[in-house]
């Protein structure tokens, strides 16, 4: 498309223009509006309070695999970050006695766009004080039904998922040689070896073998993740090598991540410190949210929480093949 632009010389010049039109169709905009209305109805009926916390924060999560978008304001001193999830603010609300809360809002991650990725996307996040992880998974399934997703639901452990779909019997104790052999057997041709730590191999097999295998499995809830992948989940007191965390896949698309939330401020600080130390070694430091840690000191009520990707849910509901088709304006490649 050609368009006239007003050039610096004060004359109109011809230039390649950016397509100004939305990347989603009118029908898709309507489908999104219906989905939002259904979600709000679901939580209103269950007396979960809608909240709207800031996107800007002075600190962020140091998670090694999630990069925040740093922001500098000229009018306010100090480093800020666009939030990768409302989690830190939500936990401060919970510690302040908010009771059950949910939010439907935009979050940001410094990563490329792709079929299932946009650096800015919409997350539905909610917290349930007093719920068990099982109870929260039941509520996730109820929400899926409420918005019209009728897939059969399976619940499997991480260990079972890798045995069934990746072909590794005891993934919790598999070393890098076992995982490397599995990757190779599944035809993954790595340009550079991932080394002797099991973790990157587990992520590789999850993304390249497990996810494609789940495309024909409907909705799958994967529970009992290795403690090393606990993120902000509590470890299972009965099995400390496992984290009380679940992930929801629908048609092989990762839709949601839920935790029985870590409340112990000492353990939370230790996890952040380890991540911050690694980030320092990799020269990509961030500031953590000290107010969040202070809130844990004050006391987070026992609760479970989950974050669900709304753009991906909309893809599943409408059969859209690309995330750019479900967002009003996709980021330019």
């Amino acid at each position: 498309m050609r368009a006239f632009l007003f050039g610096g010389s004060g004359v109109w010049t011809m230039s390649e223009s950016i397509n100004w039109q939305p990347s989603a169709t009118q029908e898709m905009l309507q489908a999104r509006a219906c989905l939002y209305a259904a979600i709000r109805e679901f939580f209103t009926r269950r007396a979960v309070l809608e909240v709207d916390v800031p996107m800007l924060n002075r600190g962020t999560v140091p998670d090694l695999n999630i990069d925040s978008v740093p922001v500098r304001l000229s009018a306010v001193a100090g480093q800020h970050y666009l939030q990768t999830s409302p989690e830190l603010f939500h936990k401060r609300l919970l510690a302040a006695g908010s009771g059950p809360i949910y939010q439907l809002g935009h979050v940001f991650r410094d990563e490329p766009s792709g079929r299932y990725h946009q650096p800015e996307f919409v997350l539905l996040e909610w917290y349930r004080p007093g719920f068990t992880l099982e109870g929260l998974m039941d509520e996730v399934v109820a929400l899926l039904r409420h918005v019209g997703l009728e897939r059969p639901v399976q619940r499997v452990t991480y260990q079972q998922a890798f045995a069934r779909w990746v072909g590794i019997e005891d993934v919790l104790h598999a070393d890098s040689s076992v995982l490397r052999a599995a990757a190779s057997a599944h035809g993954i041709d790595l340009v550079e070896d991932l080394g002797e730590e099991p973790l990157p191999w587990l992520h590789l097999l999850q993304a390249q073998v497990l996810e494609p295998a789940l495309r024909t499995e409907g909705a799958v809830l994967i529970t009992a993740w290795p403690a090393q992948q606990a993120a902000l989940a509590r470890l299972d007191p009965a099995h400390p090598e496992l984290a009380l965390r679940f992930e929801l896949y629908v048609d092989g698309i990762e839709l949601a991540n839920g935790y029985d939330e870590l409340r112990d401020p000492v353990e939370q600080r230790a996890r952040f410190s380890a991540e911050l130390a690694q980030r320092k070694r990799e020269a990509r430091p961030v500031n953590v949210d000290e107010a969040f840690l202070d809130a844990l000191d004050a006391g987070l009520p026992a609760c479970c929480g989950v974050a669900l990707g709304i753009d991906r849910l909309l893809m599943v509901l409408t059969g859209a093949q690309q995330m750019r088709d479900v967002v009003a304006f996709a980021i330019a490649d």
Binding site: N65, E111, S113, I188, E192, L202, E211
Partner: protein, 189 residues
Amino acid sequence: MATISTSEFKSGVKVLLDGDPCTIVENEFVKPGKGQAFSRVRLRNLKTGRVLEKTFKSGDSVEAADVMDTEYQYSYSDGELFHFMHPESFEQIAADETAMGDALKWLKGQEMVTLTLWNGVPISVSPPNHVSLAITETDPGVRGDTATGGTKPATLETGAVVRVPLFLDVGDVIRVDTRTSEYLSRAKD
């Protein structure tokens, strides 16, 4: 040598892989929400034409390949090498049989072709999408049969063999799609 990081990967970017120049056909970003990010990349080896799939860890980088496509005019073959001339600079360049590949069977001389140069050396030759060539050998034409849709093999002046409608004869000039080896029409002279 310039390097290219996975964040710069997109269709058409040329990289060196195991010493061979490749063009990226497709790059898919894959990442578990709480996990390591990867780039799943489909590449075409520009020397062999083979398409391969490779996985890069996000942030990995790879050497850029100095590859560019340039229009040249095919001049002649000396029996061993194929010679081309740049239409403006008149610079001469020669390609070997491997680089010439299948293009040979469509070229008579004087056509404009696209040379893919790696470090200035031709590694592949793309003929025009459509060429007009005379039939040198085929079964006698069935006059008037323009409707039955039957075909027969015909050898063209460059040696290529394509399937043509039954009514065509030796000496007829036809247009062919070089990408599919399909007959398109009689050439209008």
